[in-house]
Amino acid sequence: MSPILLAEQVLNGLQSGVMLFLMAAGLTLIFGVMGLINLAHGSLYMVGAFAAATVAGLTGSFVLALVTALAGAALAGALMEVVVIRRLYARDHLDQVLATFALILIFSEGTRWAFGSFPLYLDTPDWLSGTVQLPGGITYPAYRLALIGVGLVVGVGLWWLNARTRLGIRIRAGENDREMIAALGVDIGRLYTLVFALGAGLAGLAGALVGAIQSVQVGMGEPVLILAFVVIVIGGIGSIRGALIGALLVGLTGTLGSVLLPELFKLFTDASSAATLGSAFSSMAIYVLMAGVLIWRPTGLFGARS
């Protein structure tokens, strides 16, 4: 395998990693601050993609579509928090899982009812279509490069929000001791709604960004949700930095595993069975990674030590 191909695959791994990060950041924030397991996070990803496809179809503007996806998913998230999630904080995790699983079914059937079962059309904007030439002779799709950029900007923005703003201080305080900050006069209910909407908005943004190069259809969020859970378990539940590192690790392992393992098996067997074996083993790679990390650090890379 040539160095150029390898470099391109590393970029691909990074790209899938930063998109996972957008999903995982919201998930880990919600778990960290409110102690809630939200299975319906994938539905918000789907809401973002459908909102973007609808607006892009009506107006033809991709930027407007992204803004709507972000705002629409944040709004859906805030509504979800006020109507359902708020009643679950005091319950145990099993109740939360059951209720948010019900939300998945409601969102999926609701979307099917409104949009039908057939995939919608959403394409990359003209000004980001085609490829760019990177140093070293790498040809790379402009849109995917932009995705890496957006992911990193969101990452920096979240760090800034968490470390440098009043809201960030409250979020961190809420993670540590929610009774105490409530006693200090912070409206904890509003803080929770805000955090939930923020996480939902990020999921919606990811759905719209990824929807442009994938298929916008009912149920698109669930496979990503599983990966996002793997990411936050690897990174340490509640840690945004862990979510970023975990997402990049999962993205790189998934991509490079699917490329390198078939090459490895080609050394021992013929091309056809190497392709089959490599594919089978690469689908296990990220779970092996997760198991390895958990043996080494049972609370994840950046998880709180108990």
Binding site: S108, D123, R144, V218
Partner: protein, 381 residues
């Protein structure tokens, strides 16, 4: 009080009447197909095509139960068990995916039930694992890929890159392509079933020096790949089976799919009376163009109805013989079963074109005439 009692009695009577009506149904058919998740558009078209055929026949002695397998083998097995054990169905049909078919069909036929396949027809069930009660109405899995292979050879491609998901139909796909193409390959890759990101595969295609691409990615997988491939700026001829470019995917693909060649045993412009009637009836009822899955569903319903005219499933030998005669007007024109209960039919190449604003497939040529399946000699029954 009296009124409530009366009401209760009346509703009880109504329920009993409904139950007797159900008990009078002489034939019970179970449709297991994918109605939710990433593969839903395929199952919905299968169901709608099948139900269109049933409604046109308007027979009230056939009871149909439809259930969603969610593209999960374990769910499909549970549904099949329930349909066989407690609903006592006579005939099962509808499964889209070969890994689900492998989980359900052998067990169902072993219990003496009939299985009519509207789609999935893995190699294992066409050869050594064939069964007298199992009929593939659609094709044998390899067929449409063989057509693409024959097309690649006739076009003089010498270095195609080939790709399919890692499940029984994916393995059949690449085997079928290679059987008729016979030349060198730039690369051969298996992806995950349900995969949505193909960046890694596209980078490999770019680096491989291929002169053309063949891929089998049905439903959402194909939509994702075609969009990402169009964005990667690789200008190579693209081929596939009909499943990679079926009617339900084309609106989501957009112009990226224009000009693509695909192997198929049915097309909406195939010239025969049954097909013209089917296409217009389907459009009228569902307000969209039928896909190849809808065509298979419709043919399956009509094959089943033709056999039910002659025999009851309870008389298994007579019903089996009636099915084998294939005495119905297929939307594919000439249709008959080979000794392994898989069709002998013509296979074509189609091209994705635009009719006004609507993307659809048109026939280009017949590439293999009267094709049976590669495994027919391995089937002993």
């Amino acid at each position: 009080m009296i009124r409530t009692t009366l009401l209760a009695a009346a509703s009880l009577a109504a329920t009993t009447a409904a139950m007797t009506a159900a008990a009078q149904a002489e034939v019970k058919v179970g449709v297991i197909t994918t109605l939710s998740g990433g593969g839903a558009s395929l199952g919905i078209d299968t169901r709608d095509g099948f139900m269109l055929g049933m409604e046109q026949a308007a027979r009230d002695d056939i009871e149909i139960a439809i259930e969603d397998d969610q593209r999960k083998p374990d769910v499909a097995v549970q549904i099949a068990d329930k349909m066989i054990q407690s609903d006592k169905v006579d005939i099962l049909t509808g499964i889209v995916w070969s890994n689900l078919a492998m989980a359900v069909v052998p067990a169902a036929t072993a219990q003496g039930k009939f299985y009519l396949s509207t789609n999935a027809a893995p190699a294992q069930l066409a050869g050594r694992g064939c069964n007298p009660n199992y009929f593939a109405v659609s094709y044998q899995n390899d067929n449409l890929h063989e057509a693409a292979g024959a097309y690649a050879k006739s076009e003089g491609f010498s270095n195609p890159f080939i790709m399919a998901p890692n499940y029984p139909a994916g393995q059949d796909s690449l085997a079928g392509f290679k059987r008729y193409y016979e030349g060198d390959l730039a690369g051969e890759v298996y992806t995950q079933l349900g995969q949505t990101d193909y960046a890694a595969e596209i980078a490999q295609i770019r680096a491989s020096g291929a002169d053309s691409i063949f891929f089998f990615l049905p439903g959402g997988m194909g939509i994702s790949f075609v969009k990402q491939f169009a964005d990667a700026g690789i200008d190579l001829p693209v081929m596939g089976p009909a499943f990679s470019f079926d009617q339900s995917m084309l609106p989501a693909l957009g112009d990226a799919a224009l000009g693509v060649k695909n192997g198929a045993n049915w097309s909406k412009d195939l010239d025969n009376e049954a097909n013209a009637a089917f296409v217009s009836a389907f459009e009228e009822k569902y307000d969209r163009l039928p896909s190849i899955y809808a065509a298979y569903g419709y043919d399956t319903a009509n094959l089943m109805l033709s056999a039910l005219e002659k025999a009851e499933p309870s008389d298994a030998d007579a019903f089996r013989a009636a099915l084998k005669e294939a005495d119905f007007d297929s939307v594919r024109g000439d249709f008959k079963f080979d000794t392994n209960n898989h069709p002998i039919q013509d296979i074509y190449i189609r091209e994705v074109v635009k009719e006004g604003d609507v993307l659809t497939n048109h026939l280009v040529s017949t590439v293999i005439e009267d094709r049976s399946s590669a495994y027919v000699d391995e089937c002993k029954m």
